[in-house]
């Protein structure tokens, strides 16, 4: 991507010509519009922030809030197809990954796979992973983990790794 953009830039180096007054006027118009677009983006981002707070308060009050995040272990080559999360035996989510999403996970991104509500106390989470290993073999793994929901919001981080990783399998982290 970077190189591709560099080509465009370099190509422009020798192609630019003195712009006509009409071009300048169109360019000024575009620049003015561009600034207005930037302002409206800023407004909408502020609205989104407020709306998020409202949604969180309304839909996921802190005393019942449970969020599950998924990440891939460092350097993991597992091609993730799907992840299923069950909480206390009930299906919470089943997520099928696109190429872009797997790539984002491989680069260190963390996906919030589930947000929901749960009562305080002891619970169990089951995480199932399906995917393909670098050698093309199918990979399936399921792990069960107990956890306790306290009064504060509960954030669970699930780290996934293939069988050849230094710490293979599914690991749960408390955040």
């Amino acid at each position: 991507m970077r190189k591709h953009l560099l080509v465009v830039m370099s190509a422009l180096l020798c192609l630019c010509v003195r712009p006509s007054p009409a071009d300048e006027s169109a360019r000024a118009q575009m620049k003015g519009l561009d600034e207005q677009v930037q302002e409206v983006k800023s407004d909408v981002l502020n609205i989104a922030a407020e709306l998020n707070q409202l949604e969180e308060k309304l839909l996921y009050p802190s005393d019942t809030h449970l969020a599950v995040f998924v990440s891939l272990a460092h350097g993991e080559t597992l091609r993730l197809d799907a992840v299923q999360v069950q909480i206390d035996g009930q299906l919470a989510t089943h997520y099928i990954y696109s190429f872009k999403e797997v790539d984002a996970l491989r680069r260190g991104g963390v996906q919030r796979i589930y947000s929901g509500n749960i009562a305080t106390g002891a619970h169990e989470i089951a995480v199932s992973v399906t995917g393909k290993l670098a050698n093309g073999k199918d990979y399936t793994q399921t792990e069960h983990f107990p956890f306790t929901k306290e009064i504060k919001p509960k954030l669970i981080g699930v780290t996934l790794a293939g069988p050849d990783a230094p710490q293979p399998g599914i690991h749960l982290g408390d955040w």
């Binding site: 970077r2 190509a11 020798c14 519009l33 407020e50 005393d63 260190g108």
Partner: protein, 627 residues
């Protein structure tokens, strides 16, 4: 002076490198990781929304150093600027990075911020400010951005009309692997601008022979050869021009122009026969391409120069047909754009999912409006306008979705109110009863605790008597009082018996006192545990009671305010969307008009040339020459 935005793409490309975050292993803050996840998928609005919220929360903490984001705070501050930049919010990005630059941070951090600021200023067509930002870089510079900084500096110099300075910088970058091809080509261009023509040509020749398997580097190599060939053609060095054009790949982005130029180089050298090969190849290609259209006139021109007038007349006739068809296409495109189809095609989901969507546009069915516009659409100004249009479309969709959400929230609140409100009076009444009982028991526990505490300093074994013992003691006291007023012979006997019993009890209380005290403390501990459980249940109930009320109270104002803000923003977005769309359509139609005029001119030339070729053919035939 060239406009800095002409180098915009380079700036963005550099941002892509610098914004690369650390991997999951190092990640200590899930929300920051979530922002990165969105950003890596190009969802910069979502990434910004998440990271802005996380940073705002972090800054409002009393002890931010204890927050998990603290581990990534520097990266997060930079990432905000990067995401804003990627989301084409240069004004905000600049402000965010200036804040880092003005803060009390270490010089390497300032250097990185200065570089990012320079990039933004450069993209904003402010090369002077970009240079000023670059001049703030001092001391140690991270290795991973060292070359990028210098490459940016060279381009800033070029934008400022200082090619000699650019040459100096670019000379030092010739061994930089990450800039392979680009630094070489740009040095050639800088030398040309600095009027060092012969050195420039040597440099472009070098850049045109770089060995690579990278598509982008191969494309810049082609570009070098195109520029070199064009300069050679102007200086009438046809052999070298030919050599340069021949080095351009047949399937690259410059192949059509290279084939056309090769033909012209041959024609300029008066070798018309050789010109037939590239032009013959070129006319088989996509008829909307400007080089292909020119070749359709150039090829019969070469035949006529070879005195093959019949073939020339035939090819001119075919060219005329082709131009007529292309003119129809241009008109269809113009009509389609006026009907709003261009904008519809641009927002098609399958196009937006693809990084090479500009290239793919032409291959999509039912998009005649895009046939002639791929070149225009690749231009930087058009891209900015188009990206803004797409961003506005995205904002429009979000705002519409949010608007629909308010009704659902209100329904939810209404249902919760209907569920909880009737239950609460009974719950509260029962709670008050239990609350009173609980307070009483807690008071009793406190009293017991106090007594036991007192016993430790002033032992009182009677206080640890069992219920039976207390009853017995009471009865003995009563007997003792009664005996004081009694008389008779048996009084002394009774008194002795009573005192014996008192002694037995006292003996037991005093001898068992340590065990009893220990047991009393154990019992108090058990009681305290029960009270603690009770208090937890009490707190949980109070919290649940509050949560029930909070689940439907206090939202009306927020929802109403947000509904108004969303409505206003939607109105604003729609206005800008219409204006931006109009600008895009106007620019596209303008481009089509230019292409139309060119085609009309070609049409006139072809029409004249057909007749002329037939005349010449007839004359040749009449004079007995070989057709």
């Amino acid at each position: 002076m060239r406009r800095a935005s002409q180098w915009l793409s380079m700036g963005v490309a550099l941002a892509a490198i610098a914004a690369r975050p650390s991997m999951a292993d190092d990640l200590r803050d899930l929300y920051f990781g979530e922002a990165l996840y969105d950003a890596y998928q190009g969802q910069y609005f979502d990434a910004l929304e998440r990271l802005d919220a996380e940073l705002a929360q972090h800054r409002h903490l009393d002890e931010p150093e204890l927050d998990s984001l603290q581990h990534h705070i520097r990266q997060a501050d930079f990432s905000v600027g990067d995401f804003e930049l990627r989301y084409r919010m240069h004004l905000r990005a600049g402000r965010a990075i200036k804040q880092v630059l003005d803060a009390d941070v270490e010089q390497p951090v300032k250097n990185e911020a200065a570089y990012r600021l320079a990039r933004i200023e450069f993209q904003n067509d402010q090369p002077e400010d970009a240079l000023q930002a670059l001049e703030r870089i001092q001391g140690t510079v991270p290795d991973n951005i060292k070359d990028d900084i210098e490459f940016l500096r060279a381009n800033v110099y070029l934008a400022l009309g200082r090619p000699a300075d650019a040459v100096e910088v670019l000379r030092r970058l010739q061994t930089a692997q990450s800039l392979k091809g680009f630094a070489a080509y740009n040095l050639g261009i800088a030398l040309l601008q600095a009027d060092h023509t012969s050195e420039a040509l040597r440099q472009l020749d070098k850049a045109g022979q770089i060995e690579t398997r990278e598509t982008a580097t191969a494309a810049i190599r082609d570009k070098s050869n195109m520029v070199l060939g064009s300069v050679m053609l102007r200086t009438e060095d046809y052999a070298h021009a030919q050599l340069a054009f021949d080095r351009v790949r047949l399937e690259g982005p410059y192949s059509n122009r290279a084939l056309l130029s090769t033909g012209w180089a041959e024609v300029s050298a008066r070798d018309y026969q050789k010109a037939l090969v590239p032009w013959g190849m070129l006319i088989q290609r996509d008829g909307t391409d400007a080089a292909v259209q020119e070749a359709k006139l150039a090829l019969p021109f070469a035949y006529s120069k070879l005195r093959v007038y019949g073939r020339a007349a035939l090819l001119y006739g075919q060219a005329l047909d082709s131009f007529n068809k292309e003119l129809e296409k241009v008109d269809a495109s113009t009509r389609s754009i006026r009907a709003g189809n261009f904008l519809k095609a641009l927002v098609r989901e399958e196009i937006r999912q693809d990084n090479l969507w500009v290239v793919r546009l032409r291959t999509l069915p039912d998009t005649p409006e895009t046939f002639y516009l791929t070149e225009l659409m690749a231009s930087n100004d058009f891209q900015t306008a188009l990206q803004n249009y797409l961003d506005l479309e995205d904002l429009h969709r979000r705002l519409i979705a949010w608007q629909g959400g308010f009704g659902a929230y209100e329904d939810l609140i209404h249902l919760r109110r209907a569920n909880y409100q009737p239950l609460l009076p009974q719950v509260d009444a029962r709670f008050r009863e239990l609350d009173a009982q609980m307070r009483l028991r807690v008071e009793q526990r406190d009293l017991l605790q106090k007594r036991l505490q007192d016993i430790l300093t002033a032992p009182r074994p009677q206080l640890l008597a069992t219920a039976d013992e207390r009853v017995a003691l009471e009865r003995l006291l009563k007997i003792d009082a009664a005996l004081r007023h009694a008389s008779g012979a048996e009084r002394a006997t009774w008194q002795a018996r009573m005192q014996h019993l008192q002694g037995v009890l006292a003996w037991r209380l005093y001898t068992e006192y340590p065990e009893r005290l220990t047991q009393a403390h154990k019992d108090l501990h058990v009681l305290n545990e029960d009270v603690r459980t009770l208090q937890e249940q009490y707190t949980a109930f109070v919290r649940a009671r509050q949560a029930a009320v909070h689940s439907y109270e206090g939202y009306d104002q927020s929802i109403s305010r947000l509904r108004t803000r969303v409505g206003e923003a939607l109105e604003h977005v729609d206005t800008l969307l219409a204006r931006q769309g109009h600008v895009i359509e106007a620019v596209a139609i303008d481009e089509l008009n230019t292409r139309r005029k060119r085609l009309e001119a070609y049409q006139v030339q072809a029409r004249y040339a057909v007749a002329d070729s037939y005349d010449r053919e007839l004359k040749e035939h009449a004079s007995g020459g070989t057709p």
